[in-house]
């Protein structure tokens, strides 16, 4: 009786472990995917302002490659790096848009 009970408890515990691990992995995947989507949007905005960076593009591609390999931790890290670079490039473009001047005339 106790043996059966122990086995049942063990099985229930193992199942719970596997299910929660799967849910955590799924949560990681979703987070990485969202992060990549935001980075893609930011880079598109930077390109529109004529100042998309090649380093942002490289980080984005690394993120997408990692995601395809199910390495969600790496994908998230690269996507966040891409977001950071994209934000800096957007700030650079916005602050300078008004400041370009004809260097030979002024």
């Amino acid at each position: 009786m106790t043996r059966m009970f122990q086995l049942l408890c063990g099985a229930a515990f193992a199942t719970a472990l596997v299910l929660s691990a799967a849910r955590a992995a799924n949560a990681d995947a979703i987070l990485a995917k969202q992060s990549i989507a935001v980075a893609v949007e930011l880079q598109a905005h930077a390109m529109n302002l004529d100042d998309g960076w090649s380093t942002t593009e490289a980080a984005l591609q690394q993120a997408q490659a990692a995601y395809a390999k199910h390495d969600y931790a790496m994908a998230l890290a690269q996507a966040q790096h891409a977001q950071k670079l994209a934000r800096i490039s957007i700030a650079q473009a916005e602050s300078q848009k008004k400041f370009w001047r004809n260097e030979v005339a002024n």
Partner: protein
């Protein structure tokens, strides 16, 4: 959630930070004069026509090596290949000559042109692709390979002719010119350089192992055989390369940004003799 708001906020602000329309009239001729004056006052001993030799005016060793490589110009093979391709008939019996005035001979110095029908600037490469399109053929690469060879041949037939880019009194053409000018002077990329940073402010100076060519005359020598490429390349190929060098993400070769930049840059060399195809390190 916060990220979503930040992104939305940026997208909302975006239209407000577009470049303000120029409050002064667009005057290409005045720009050209100022451009020339800037360089000529910087390098008083350099003849105007000498500008087409770019970096070779500023480095004896580069000029010596150039003279050596020009004993047998490295673009010779592309020139021969380009001539053959230029004269090859299309499947429908016509050839490139039918798309250009004077059969395409001695006319390269008038490009880029503003195409009033498409409202876009057409470089020589784009004109070649439009010719192919009109005869039911696929467009070709704008940066290298066979089309660069055809351009090499066509510019060779214009050697010595003064560059003669026209900017008609059409608001669209003037806007394209102005867009090119803005691109030239705007900083970009992670290194935050503009074209002017190197080719106006640092013209004649060294950048790592290279000597920077002044922007005046720089468009007179394309397509070039670049020793680094081991190959011919068009002006657009170099635009893309320069973008990458400042860690800016390049755009498509036929994009309006590069067309307008070519329009501005070539106009700034108006009057200088075509010295294309060129050979550079």
């Amino acid at each position: 959630m916060r990220v979503l708001f930040v992104v939305l906020g940026m997208l909302l602000i975006a239209p407000l930070v577009q470049a303000a329309p120029p409050s002064v009239a667009v005057e290409p001729a005045a720009d050209l004069k100022a451009f020339r004056t800037n360089f000529r006052s910087q390098f008083p001993d350099l003849l105007l026509n000498g500008y087409v030799n770019g970096p070779y005016n500023f480095s004896k060793s580069e000029r010596t090596q150039w003279n050596q490589i020009m004993e047998f110009p490295p673009y010779e093979f592309a020139l021969q290949e380009g001539k053959e391709l230029f004269e090859t008939k299309f499947p429908d019996g016509k050839s490139y000559a039918s798309c250009f005035p004077n059969g395409g001979i001695g006319i390269a110095q008038t490009y880029p042109k503003f195409d009033a029908i498409s409202s876009k600037v057409a470089t020589l490469g784009i004109a070649l692709n439009e010719c192919r399109d009109a005869h039911g053929m696929q467009p070709l690469n704008l940066t290298k390979g066979p089309p660069a060879a055809i351009e090499t041949y066509m510019v060779h037939t214009s050697r010595g002719k003064p560059i003669d880019v026209t900017i008609p009194d059409d608001p669209r053409a003037l806007a394209a010119y102005e867009a090119g000018k803005e691109y030239f002077y705007s900083r970009r990329g992670q290194l935050n350089f503009s074209c002017a940073s190197c080719h106006v402010q640092a013209a004649g100076k060294r950048l790592r192992g290279d000597v920077l060519a002044p922007a005046l005359g720089i468009a007179a020598i394309f397509p070039i055989y670049r020793s680094k490429w081991g190959d011919m390349g068009t002006l657009v190929r170099r635009f893309i390369g320069c973008n990458k060098k400042v860690n800016a993400q390049p755009v498509k070769a036929d994009s309006a940004r590069y067309r307008n930049l070519a329009y501005f840059l070539t106009y700034m060399s108006n009057g200088l003799p075509m010295a294309a195809p060129g050979a550079r390190p």
